[in-house]
Symmetry: C2
């Protein structure tokens, strides 16, 4: 039983932007794919999700993208759990291009009951099976404590339509769509398309039938604070730099 999981991939044409580097949403998708495949090996991934009725849901993610991988570049995702505590799971990511570290990140996942949408304790038999890796120290050991200030209510917003295809087989807007909203708003507001640092917290689900979100952006000392908002409030907020 291996404590870390390796996913090898080659960046396809469909995953790069007009600058020939990976789209932000595809970076998110790559990390998510590695996490799901690893979790699937221990019966806590996407497979059998309907039968099980419980799932990991991404709550916080902090990544540093040292370099955006290019089209046709072979990349290796290395991921491991740093522990499961109560209803929380902690997971590290490192993405390599050969010997070069290109992406490093830490994530916090919550274990929820899909029927009630409530947090629920990870069963001991699952938690104990899941191997804890002992790779390099966590990128953000404080992931659990990360808090983001909301951009001011009067900060400018970029509206982005929600598409039918944003809702996945579980009826939820996939995390990767949030990265699409964010990157669209960054570029439309005249900012760089490729932040080096991205940290965010998912706050609530986007309800089915939602046709648009507003991405609010406000520059500050530590970077650009953002919130992805709707009628119910903020669905996610964080910072890019």
């Amino acid at each position: 039983m291996s404590a870390e999981f390796i996913l090898d991939a080659v960046v396809p044409f469909a995953d790069v932007d007009r600058e020939q580097v990976m789209l932000l949403s595809r970076v998110g998708k790559l990390l998510q794919e590695a996490a799901i495949q690893h979790a699937d090996m221990y019966g806590v991934g996407a497979r059998d999700i309907a039968e099980r009725g419980t799932s990991w849901v991404l709550n916080r993610l902090a990544v540093e993208i040292l370099r955006y991988p290019r089209r046709d570049e072979p990349v290796r995702v290395q991921t491991w759990s740093t522990g499961v505590r109560g209803f929380k799971g902690f997971r590290e990511f490192r993405v390599w291009s050969g010997e070069e570290l290109v992406i490093t990140g830490t994530s916090l996942w919550l274990w929820i009951d899909l029927r009630t949408r409530m947090l629920t304790r990870v069963p001991q038999e699952l938690a104990s099976l899941f191997p804890v890796g002992a790779g390099s120290p966590p990128y953000r050991p404080d992931i659990e404590k990360l808090r983001f200030a909301a951009p001011a209510e009067d900060a400018p917003t970029v509206p982005v339509s929600v598409r039918y295809s944003d809702f996945d087989a579980n009826g939820h807007v996939n995390n990767t769509a949030f990265f699409d909203f964010l990157q669209t708003a960054l570029v439309q507001s005249g900012r760089a398309a490729h932040p080096r640092r991205l940290e965010l917290q998912f706050q609530r689900e986007i309800p089915t039938g939602t046709t648009s979100v507003a991405v609010r952006l406000a520059p500050g000392d530590a970077g650009v604070a953002f919130a992805i908002c709707g009628a119910e409030g903020s669905y996610a907020q964080g910072i890019v730099a």
Copy 2:
């Protein structure tokens, strides 16, 4: 040298919608992927596109989706050219699930000079190399003559944001994004998400910097006429039924 090309695939989680069947954009992507891989075998695909300076661009597509493939379903795409004439290339598609024909379609592609964006004759040495298949008769032998009436100017429209990720490595909005716009508009206007028949013509490119398109829909005798429009006029129009 094989006159037809076979692409085997399994429908992934990320390609299905809340009804557990393939998204319209992913149906389009699957057909496109088979066409590109086949063309790549003869030096006229996506590979070396920059060096060559010429490319096939999809002009018309007519498909009948007898059944939308489901999550985890293994599908086989069978595609062949029915000829290259001047600057036009004709290509058939059949998608099978085991012995069951699930999608059938005909497409017309134009060979263009990427620098000037002008139509250009396919060089004889490329045209003669490309094998003409002799499978079942074409689904729409009249593809070249298909014309679509524009929905009335006063027909209702659904606005859909254009995202940064819609622009591909060549700086063009990928065809599959058009299917996303269309399916979003169908559902938002209270129509069925899964048309059985889709025919469309691509008319002009969506310029870089475009932030939104309007999908105009008007029901008629033969189905729902649609146009995907912007300031310059219509980018694509067609019919779903």
